[in-house]
């Protein structure tokens, strides 16, 4: 997994790529927890390059969402591959997360 952070306008954007599984999700969790402790908002997670995501990756995103809800932060996900989107739908998370087709859409909402 690769993780790159960029600031675009007022948003912090986390670009993820590669496979997120039990091996790599702790690094993602650490990075996202650091941001939620800093009360970052809006936080956009760009999943464009993510080829695989397991339940530990989903758990990390749910944990981040819950942490951000506590300070009324805005978490947005974008560029989900059809497979990752299917996982979100199956886990009934498509109604819980704010999901956008593109980074531009996520930035401009």
């Amino acid at each position: 997994m690769e993780l790159k952070v960029e600031e675009i306008e007022t948003a912090k954007v986390v670009h993820l790529s590669g496979e997120i599984d039990l091996h790599t999700s702790p690094d993602l969790r650490k990075a996202l927890l650091k941001m939620t402790k800093q009360r970052v908002t809006p936080l956009i997670i760009d999943l464009k390059g993510v080829s695989y995501m397991d339940s530990s990756a989903i758990a990390t995103l749910v944990e981040t969402l819950k942490a951000m809800m506590a300070y009324k932060g805005s978490l947005r996900l974008c560029n989900l591959s059809p497979r990752v989107r299917e996982i979100f739908n199956f886990a009934k998370l498509d109604k819980v997360f704010r999901i956008y087709d593109s980074l531009q859409d996520a930035l401009s909402c």
Binding site: L22, H23, D54, T60, F90
Partner: protein
């Protein structure tokens, strides 16, 4: 060259999460030999990945130096994957995922397993946990 109608292969990894990707590649290569649709390959790969992750987390309590054996068998009618470990016996609750409408971290792995496979059977024999996953084709 004509492809065989059945396949059998196994892989043994150490229980370090870094090897999960190797199990996924192993499965993907075998499943592609069977000309299965991509969605089914992805579902099956995810399910076995989750089963191995559960072994690392619950049976071995994150001890990364224990063996996990994955045996893959298939014929035109079914796919069977057996995941074996020598860790702690799982509790009944470990075979139940959380209610999907109860949005919280964790508890999804078993749902992925049950989505991909028609039968999920567990046995513990002489200190070996044996999870047998069956998908009818």
């Amino acid at each position: 060259m004509r492809k065989p109608l059945s396949h059998k292969a196994s892989i043994t990894i150490s229980s370090h999460p870094m090897y999960l990707g190797i199990v996924r590649v192993f499965l993907e290569k075998l499943l592609k030999l069977m000309d299965l649709p991509t969605y089914m390959i992805e579902d099956l790969k995810s399910a076995v990945d989750e089963a191995c992750s559960n072994v690392i987390k619950y049976a071995y309590k994150n001890d990364y130096q224990k063996p996990i054996k994955v045996t893959f068998t298939c014929d035109p009618e079914k796919i069977e994957v057996v995941v074996e470990d020598r860790g702690l016996e799982p509790a009944d609750k470990d075979f139940k995922g959380r209610d999907l409408s109860d949005i919280r971290p964790g508890g999804l792995g078993m749902h992925f397993i049950k989505k991909a496979f028609d039968e999920v059977k567990f046995k513990r024999i002489r200190g070996v946990n044996k999870l047998t996953l069956l998908r009818r084709l």
